[in-house]
């Protein structure tokens, strides 16, 4: 990254990501070369993410992260030709902090602003990094769990969670179990590690409805068993993973059979889990489908994905005026027209 930089005529796009607990700034060329991707994660001292606390963290680290992104990319603010930011969906206070930084930069540099849908950015950076062209995407993170594919101008959601996201389910269980996350060792990784020593499959509710799934009942059941203290934590982590991952894999398989696509893309924070990767890979192999998983740096929330999607949108005439740059907490990806695909 960085050193082979080619100066393009069009300049560069800087992308700001701040939907949840990460504040990140990425820089991309118009050819999709990622020159910087600086991520600063907010780790709450205890409990879950409080949107206001996370937003305060974002405001505190914003200038430091920006500076690092400029240094790493060796791009000067004046070389930028467009600013992109994640406009939603996400946590209000967090989104607003990123949007404020983006607006200020765009206004100061007098260059256009592009509001990017966070979920679409995950898919686009995944395609860029893996070379996938028209995949079924399983996007699993702390805030989202969905199976999607492109059709006639938009990404369509084939399956999704009816309640909580997969990453959220794992995180809450880990917190209830008293696990402590640290830098480089998030809750998901802690559960994955414990699950490796699990032997006993404890029955948990398996709820697939059509191509959708429900995880909140399962979380309650797992937490109740945990509190009773009759099961080994390792077995519970193992059962939690096996059951929830089987559900998302079944839904993904349904979407593959339904759409007949030949590529599968796995992304989002939970995509780093090796067990989930092996399940999704097995389904891809069974259906003769090419399996792609995104490197963790580009699978978790990151600024590079916003910068790159900003390039795609900007090159197809999509810009967001300051008046229309308000954040959209529940911005579904089907609402977004995607002129840059096909």
């Amino acid at each position: 990254m960085g050193k082979m930089k080619r100066k393009t005529k069009k300049g560069y796009c800087l992308g700001i990501e701040s939907t949840a607990d990460d504040f990140s700034v990425g820089v991309s060329t118009f050819d999709g070369e990622i020159l910087a991707n600086v991520i600063d994660a907010y780790i709450p001292p205890e409990g879950g993410i409080h949107p206001r606390e996370a937003a305060r963290h974002h405001a505190e680290v914003a200038s430091k992260v920006l500076r690092e992104a400029f240094t790493e990319s060796e791009v000067k603010p004046r070389d930028l030709s467009v600013i992109a930011f994640s406009q939603g969906p996400g946590l209000g206070p967090c989104l607003r902090t990123g949007a404020t930084v983006a607006r200020a930069l765009a206004a100061y540099l007098n260059i256009p602003l592009v509001g990017v849908n966070h979920c679409i950015a995950h898919i686009e950076i995944g395609k860029l990094r893996t070379g996938a062209r028209d995949p079924v995407t399983l996007y699993v993170s702390g805030g989202n769990t969905m199976v999607t594919a492109f059709d006639s101008g938009r990404y369509r959601v084939f399956g999704e969670t009816l309640d909580i996201a997969l990453g959220n389910c794992l995180d809450v269980f880990a917190r209830e179990a008293g696990l402590r996350q640290s830098e480089g060792m998030p809750f998901g990784a802690l559960i994955e590690k414990l699950a490796l020593n699990g032997r006993q499959l404890i029955p948990l509710p398996y709820t697939v409805k059509g191509m959708d799934m429900s995880l909140s009942g399962l979380l309650t059941a797992a937490t109740t068993l945990l509190k009773k203290g009759e099961c080994k934590l390792e077995d519970l982590c193992y059962s939690l993973q096996e059951t929830t991952f089987s559900m998302v894999t079944e839904v993904t398989e349904r979407a593959l059979a339904h759409t007949g696509r030949k590529e599968l893309l796995l992304t989002g924070g939970v995509a780093a889990n090796k067990r989930l990767q092996s399940m999704i890979r097995a389904v891809a192999e069974e259906h003769g489908v090419h399996f792609n998983t995104v490197q963790t740096e580009f699978a978790i929330d990151n600024g590079a994905m916003i910068a790159w999607t900003g390039v795609l949108a900007y090159e197809h005439g999509v810009v967001t005026s300051i008046e229309k740059s308000f954040v959209k907490l529940r911005w579904r990806l089907e609402e977004v027209e995607v002129p840059w695909v096909q």
Binding site: P51, L91, G92, D151, V157, L162, L201, Y206, G210, A257
Partner: protein
Amino acid sequence: MGAVKSPVLIKKGAEANLYLADWHGRKAVLKKRVRKKYRPQKLDEQIRTYRTIHEPQLMHEAKKAAVPTPRIFLVDVKNTTIIMEHLEGKQVKQLLSEVSSSARQHLCFKIGRLIARLHEHGLIHGDLTTSNMIMNSEGKVSFVDFGLGDRSEELEARGVDLHLMKRALESTHYRFAESCFKSVIKGYRSVLGAGRLKSVLVKIKEIERRGRYVAERRQEESSA
């Protein structure tokens, strides 16, 4: 299953393989739920056995609700296989984009009526997509694939069932999803009445709000 002759694979679905076969001189469909290597064997067997037993039960109960479903010939739990009648006709998935706008609305109205009858009898289909509905040349619509179905009188379950129908229309028939779902709702109301329809619609709204960002929703609610 000795009486099965010349099975031909007609569809490799996500969870089951479908074969067309001759069963005692009748044209039959064999639905075999196959082992999924990605999940633990114990869980896999539980899921396949459960669905093999429940699906024919629900299909049978659907008939009592006057919702046409294929006749069951044999349930082979050990081999997680169901042998059932082969339905002549076309998938609604195909038909919706082939027929005229008025025929489409009429078809969706009929579907809405069938869903309402299931719900009225405490049945939930669990996978209401247009590929799971077949219409024959006389215009009779049958529902298939009750593998994810359930018995429930709860508003929540009914709401999710209809929400899935809406989602299936949106992802596969986005050009006319809105008008189709409106007709489904009209059909549903014609059986269950405006009052019960309204409570289901309110539930669907709630379900749709639930999907994303739990923390945010709580905050919105507490500050509201």
